[in-house]
Amino acid sequence: MARFLARRLVLMLLTVVAISVISFFIIILPPGDFVDRLVQEANQYGENLEPHEIEDLRRNYGLDRSAVEQYFVWVRNILLRGDFGYSFGWDLPVSELIGQRLGLTALLSVVTLLFVWIVAIPVGIYAAVRKYSLGDYVFTFLGFIGLAIPNFLLALVLLYISFRYFGQSVGGLFSPEYVNAPWTLARFADLLSHLWIPVIVLGTAGTAEIIRKIRANLLDELHRPYVLTARAKGLGETHLLLKYPVRHSLNPFVSELNDLFVKIVSGETIVAVVLGLQTTGPLLLEALKEEDLYLASTLIMFLSFLAVLGTLVSDLLLMLLDPKIRRQAASQEMM
C-alpha cells in the first residue's frame, strides 16, 4: 500500500514538473511581453520610450534573458525561497496576491463537487428506478438543458433574474463590508450566504451529466445476474438496490470524480469573471491580458496542481472503495 502511494506521489511530482513547464512557456513563448505592453500604453499617452529605456525596463523585469533561463530562475526561486516571482502589473509579490484567492477557488470547487454529488446521486438513482415516470422525464429534460447552457450564460441569467425580480446584485463572494475584512465568523457566514449562486452555476452542467450517466449505468446494472442472486436470496428491494446495483454503478464515478473536478476548476475561471468573485479567475484573466508573466504562470500552475491533487484523491478513494484495485495495490507491494 505504501509503495502504491509512493508511486502515485512520484507520478504526481512528474506531472507537477510538466505542469510548471507548460504554465510558464504558454505565457512566455508567444510574441510580446509586459514591456511591449508598457511601450504601447506609453504611446497612447503620447510618450515615446527610447530604445535604451526599453532595454533597461526589460533588464529590470528580467525579461532580457532567454525563456529557458527565466524558467530556471523562476523554479529555483520557488524551490529555494518559496518565491513565485513578482507581479509586474500589481507591483506585488505573486504569493501575496494569490494566497487567499487560491484558497477561495479551492473551497468553491470542493463545495461545488459535493453539491453535484449530493444532488446527482439520489436523482440519478430515482430516474433509473422509476424509468419513464414523470419525474424521470422532468429530470431528463432539466438535464439536457443543464448540459446545454454555458456556465457564464447561466451566471448572467441568474444575475439578471435576481436584479430584475429581487432588485439586488448577487455577484461576489462577500458583501462589500467584508471584502477586505480579516477572517471572522461573521465574514465566513457572509461567504456562505454568497456561495450558493456560484455553486449552482458551476455545478449545473456537472450535475446534469452525472445524473444522466448514473441513470444509464444503473439501468445496465439492474439486470445483472448478481441482482437476481440477491433477489433470490430474499432480500428486500430497497436494501438490495442500494447494496448491489447502486454500489456497482457508482464505482466508475469515483474515477470520474477527477474529470468532474477538473471541469469545475476549469469552469470556475469564467464564472468568477461574470459573477465578480474574489477568486483566481478574474486575476488570471487580467494577468493574461497584461502579459503579467509570473502571476499568470503561477496561477495556471496552481490551478493545474489543484486538478492533479484531485486526481490523487480520486485514485486513493478508488483504492479504498474498489476491492480489485485495493488487491492490486497490495500485490504490487509483494512484488
Binding site: T15, I149, P150, L156
Partner: protein, 364 residues
C-alpha cells in the same frame, strides 16, 4: 431477427435511428441551423454591422398583420416606427410606438447589399422592410442600434463552423494519434496514453485563455478564427483519440478481423474494409457529441474578450454586449445569442444521443 433479413448494417442503423424521436428532432434542428449558417446574408433582414444611432437599445417591435390604409383594410404585415423620449427622472430613454409611421414588411425584399458567400453581389433578403431605407428590429437593437436578430443570424455561421472545424482538426489528430497508439501498441501506446491522461488532467479553460490571450488583438479575423480552432483542438483531440484507440483495440481482437487477415487481406484493406465501417457509426456519434463542447468553448472565450473579436460576429462576441448587469437590465433581448447557443447545443446533443444509440443496431 429474420424480419430484417435483407437489410444491411447501415440500413439497420438508420432504421434504429429513425425510431429515436428526440434524435430525429435534434437532426432536423441541426440541419436547419446549418442551413441558416449557409444563407445568413439572405435570411437576416439587415447586415450585421449597419446601425442607426437613434435606435440604441430599441426594444423588439410587434409585427401587425392588418393595415388600415386609405384604400381600406388589407392584410399587410408591418411594424410601427419607434419614437424615443428621455425620462428625466430616471435618465433612461423610453421607446414608444408611433402609429403614424408604418413600416411595411415583405418577403424577398431588397435591402443591405452583400456578397453572397463572398462572391455574388446581391441585396435580396428573405424578410425585411419594403423600403430599403427603413429598419426593423424583430428582436430589438443593441448598444449601437444594430439589429440583434440579424447579428445573431450572421453569428450562426462562425459559431457553428468553428465547432465543426475544431472537431475536424481534433478528429484528424485523434485518428492519427489514436490509430498510431492502437496500431503500434507497446511503448508507443503507453507513452501516448500517459500523454492523453496528462492533458486530460489539466483544467482546459485556463490553458485555453492562456493560449488565446497570446493572439495579438491586431491579428486579422481569419487567422484568429484559425488560431482559436487550433487552440480548442489542442485538448479536444485527446477524447477522440481515446475513442478511436479503444475501438481499434477492440476490433483488432474480433474474430472477423482475424478472419480477414487469414483471407489474405493486406493491413490497409483490413482497416479500410473491415474495421473502419464497423466503428464509423460510433465515431460519427462521438464527433457529433464533441461539437457542442467546441461551440460552448468558443462562445466562452469570445465572451471573455480573448477569443474572436469584433468585427467578427459570433454568438460569443455578441454575448459580450450582455456582459454587464446594466445592459442586460435595459435590454434583456441581448440574451438572444445565448438562446441560439442553447438551441444549437441541445439539438446537437439530441442528434448525438440518437446516433450513439443507433450505432449498435444489435443491442437491445
Amino acid at each position: 431477427m429474420t424480419y430484417a433479413a435483407h437489410l444491411s448494417h447501415s440500413q439497420l442503423v438508420i432504421r434504429r435511428f429513425l425510431r429515436h424521436r428526440l434524435g430525429i428532432f435534434g437532426g432536423v434542428m441541426t440541419l436547419l441551423i446549418y442551413l441558416v449558417a449557409a444563407f445568413v446574408e439572405f435570411l437576416a433582414p439587415h447586415a450585421p454591422n449597419t446601425y442607426q444611432a437613434r435606435d440604441v437599445y430599441a426594444p423588439p417591435q410587434n409585427v401587425r398583420w392588418i393595415l388600415d390604409g386609405p384604400d381600406g383594410r388589407r392584410i399587410q404585415p408591418h411594424v410601427f416606427g419607434l419614437r424615443s423620449t428621455t425620462d428625466y427622472n430616471t435618465g433612461q430613454r423610453v421607446f414608444e410606438e408611433d402609429p403614424e409611421r408604418v413600416i411595411e414588411l415583405g418577403f424577398l425584399v431588397r435591402g443591405d447589399s452583400y456578397r453572397f458567400w463572398g462572391l455574388v453581389p446581391a441585396n435580396l433578403h428573405f424578410v425585411g422592410p419594403k423600403d430599403p431605407g427603413e429598419r426593423v428590429y424583430f428582436l430589438g437593437a443593441d448598444r449601437l442600434g444594430r439589429d440583434v436578430l440579424s447579428r445573431t443570424i450572421h453569428a450562426t455561421r462562425v459559431s457553428m463552423t468553428i465547432g465543426l472545424v475544431g472537431v475536424g482538426i481534433s478528429l484528424v489528430l485523434g485518428i492519427a494519434i489514436g490509430g498510431v497508439s492502437g496500431y503500434f501498441g507497446g511503448i508507443v501506446d503507453l507513452a501516448i496514453q500517459r500523454l492523453i491522461e496528462f492533458l486530460q488532467s489539466l483544467p482546459s479553460i485556463p490553458l485555453w485563455i492562456g493560449l488565446a490571450a497570446a493572439i495579438p488583438p491586431t491579428t486579422p479575423p481569419i487567422r484568429t478564427y484559425f488560431f482559436i480552432t487550433a487552440i480548442l483542438s489542442i485538448i479536444g483531440w485527446t477524447g477522440l483519440a481515446r475513442v478511436v484507440r479503444g475501438r481499434f483495440m477492440a476490433l483488432k481482437d474480433e474474430n472477423f478481423v482475424k478472419a480477414a487477415l487469414l483471407d489474405g487481406n493486406r493491413p490497409v484493406r483490413i482497416i479500410r474494409r473491415h474495421m473502419v465501417p464497423n466503428f464509423l457509426s460510433h465515431i460519427i456519434a462521438v464527433v457529433t457529441l464533441a461539437i457542442p463542447g467546441m461551440i460552448i468553448a468558443e462562445t466562452s472565450l469570445s465572451f471573455l474578450g480573448i477569443g474572436l473579436r469584433p468585427p467578427v460576429v459570433s454568438w460569443g462576441v455578441l454575448l459580450q454586449e450582455a456582459q454587464n448587469l446594466r445592459s442586460i437590465a435595459t435590454a434583456p433581448w441581448l440574451f438572444l445569442p445565448g438562446a441560439a447557443v442553447v438551441v444549437a447545443v441541445l439539438s446537437l446533443n439530441f442528434l448525438g444521443d440518437g446516433l450513439r444509440d443507433a450505432a449498435d443496431p444489435y443491442a437491445n
